[in-house]
């Protein structure tokens, strides 16, 4: 069924609002997975990349609602397709959650993390638009995405800390994954502060927003593959 998404999502290249059927169908698939697994379907790369693609689509629709077809679509839609392809190539993890993951704190932590990643992704796209056209509206588009993403990411870290405190007796563990999560948080703190500094505002800050998303993707995919951490289940 998932292959249908590869036909539906590219319709957004014709007009932004034509992403709605893809989002509706993808949302239905996510909900049906949740019902069949009996849990939130956010375990493993298959589930999380798929959810990230869907979240990017939602953010794209929200911020692109009044936009005409332009570079915003030409960058975001292929990004969604790349994330979907990554999801399709990864094995799905079916069955119930391991006991340690059966808590609302885990679900909130993961859902908010991926929604914030989606906002960071679209923020990076706005950064590309700003570097290309130099329009103020693209800079403010990037700022709004990254500020909201930063708030949700901070909340995700707080919920993760509460969960870790209940599960392992500590809200912080010294592992590479936690260090990289903090690097992500520092990166967007840097973006928000640098935006207020004369000489940094403008193109350098737009680049920071773009580089930030690559750090996010490395934290999500690269650290999990290369380094051992508490985020392995």
């Amino acid at each position: 069924m998932e292959f249908i998404l590869f036909i539906l999502y590219p319709l957004a290249l014709v007009r932004v609002r034509l992403i709605i059927p893809a989002l509706a169908f993808h949302g239905t698939l996510i909900i049906s997975s949740a019902v069949s697994y009996g849990r939130v379907p956010l375990i493993g790369t298959h589930d999380t990349l798929g959810f990230l693609a869907w979240s990017v689509g939602i953010v794209y629709l929200f911020f692109g609602w009044t936009r005409k077809r332009d570079l915003f679509s030409y960058v975001t839609v292929p990004l969604i397709l790349v994330l979907l392809a990554g999801s399709a190539l990864s094995p799905a993890m079916r069955g119930p959650l391991p006991p340690v993951l059966r808590t609302i704190w885990f679900e909130l932590h993961v859902v908010l993390s991926f929604v914030s990643y989606a906002l960071f992704a679209v923020g990076a796209v706005f950064g590309v638009l700003y570097l290309r056209h130099g329009r103020r509206e693209d800079e403010s588009g990037q700022y709004r995405n990254l500020l909201l993403g930063y708030a949700l990411f901070s909340l995700a870290m707080i919920f993760g800390g509460i969960w870790a405190h209940l599960a392992w007796g500590t809200y912080w563990l010294w592992t590479p994954k936690e260090l990289w999560t903090t690097i992500v948080w520092f990166s967007y703190s840097l973006y928000l502060h640098a935006r207020l500094v004369r000489g940094w505002a403008g193109r350098p800050v737009a680049w920071m927003g773009i580089v930030g998303f690559f750090i996010v993707m490395f934290t999500y995919v690269g650290v999990g593959l290369l380094m051992k951490s508490s985020h392995e289940f």
Binding site: V100, R102, Y143, R144, S154, T182, I183, H193, M227
Partner: protein, 238 residues
């Protein structure tokens, strides 16, 4: 010197420096597992004293990150004091106070880490069923039962350990431990880390007291209050 601590450029460069040292740390941690392995098993200051100081090359990133965080703390405090000074108007009150609330939350979280690193305790060990173990603060723990729950296919579905805490010989708390379900008693937490049912049922328990935890929670609440106010105000403006 005051201008240095007051400058946003100091914030930006310090954050950039912290990103670099954390990056270095994420490489050195798995490369020198024997040095960094104990960071989570004991209080951080104990690890610094017993391990890190003897291995400065492998742990240089940690000391550099401490220095960066100290600089960022001073920078945050000085900037916030400066922002609070001066005339306030009703119109800009929220916009001026919200970043300071975020800063206060951040400082509380740093304080939490400091308290958790140096004070409190963390002990762990195997405890067979129907035996006692001594704990700090004149307390002891008794494990009365250990129950694994298996599903239809024989997989482990859940587990539970029934424990009691004694203080000066009196039973003061009882509870059932499980995944994400510790037992708290006056700031002390008891956690079931794992168990073994091979011969005699044995639970691997961890008991800790982290005086920073409450500060971390308070700091998180303050941080989110501040960031939501900024979000609402700046969203419209942007």
């Amino acid at each position: 010197m005051k201008n240095f601590f007051l400058s946003l450029k100091t914030t930006v460069w310090t954050l950039l420096g912290l990103i670099c040292v954390f990056f270095l740390g994420s490489y050195l941690m798995p490369a020198y597992r024997d040095v960094h392995g104990g960071m989570n098993d004991r209080l951080l200051f104990q690890w610094v004293e017993q391990v890190a100081l003897d291995n400065p090359g492998e742990t240089c990133w940690f000391f550099a990150s401490l220095a960066g965080l100290v600089l960022l703390t001073i920078n945050t405090i000085v900037c916030s004091i400066q922002a609070i000074k001066g005339k306030w108007t009703r119109e800009d009150f929220l916009l001026r106070i919200a970043p300071q609330v975020v800063h206060l939350g951040f400082l509380c979280i740093l304080l939490a880490h400091l308290l958790g690193a140096g004070w409190g305790y963390r002990v762990s060990g195997m405890l067979p069923v129907e035996t006692y173990a001594k704990l700090p603060e004149n307390r002891s723990i008794y494990l009365s039962d250990l129950r694994p729950l298996v599903d239809d296919r024989g997989g482990l579905k859940d587990w539970a350990a029934v424990v009691a805490i004694f203080e000066n010989g009196k039973r003061v708390a009882t509870g059932t431990l499980g995944p994400n379900t510790p037992l708290f008693y006056q700031g002390m937490g008891v956690y079931l880390k794992s168990f073994d049912l091979q011969e005699r049922p044995v639970a691997f328990l961890m008991v800790n007291r982290d005086p920073g935890a409450i500060w971390a929670l308070a700091g998180s609440v303050l941080f989110m209050i501040g960031i939501v106010i900024i979000l609402v105000l700046k969203w419209k403006k942007a």
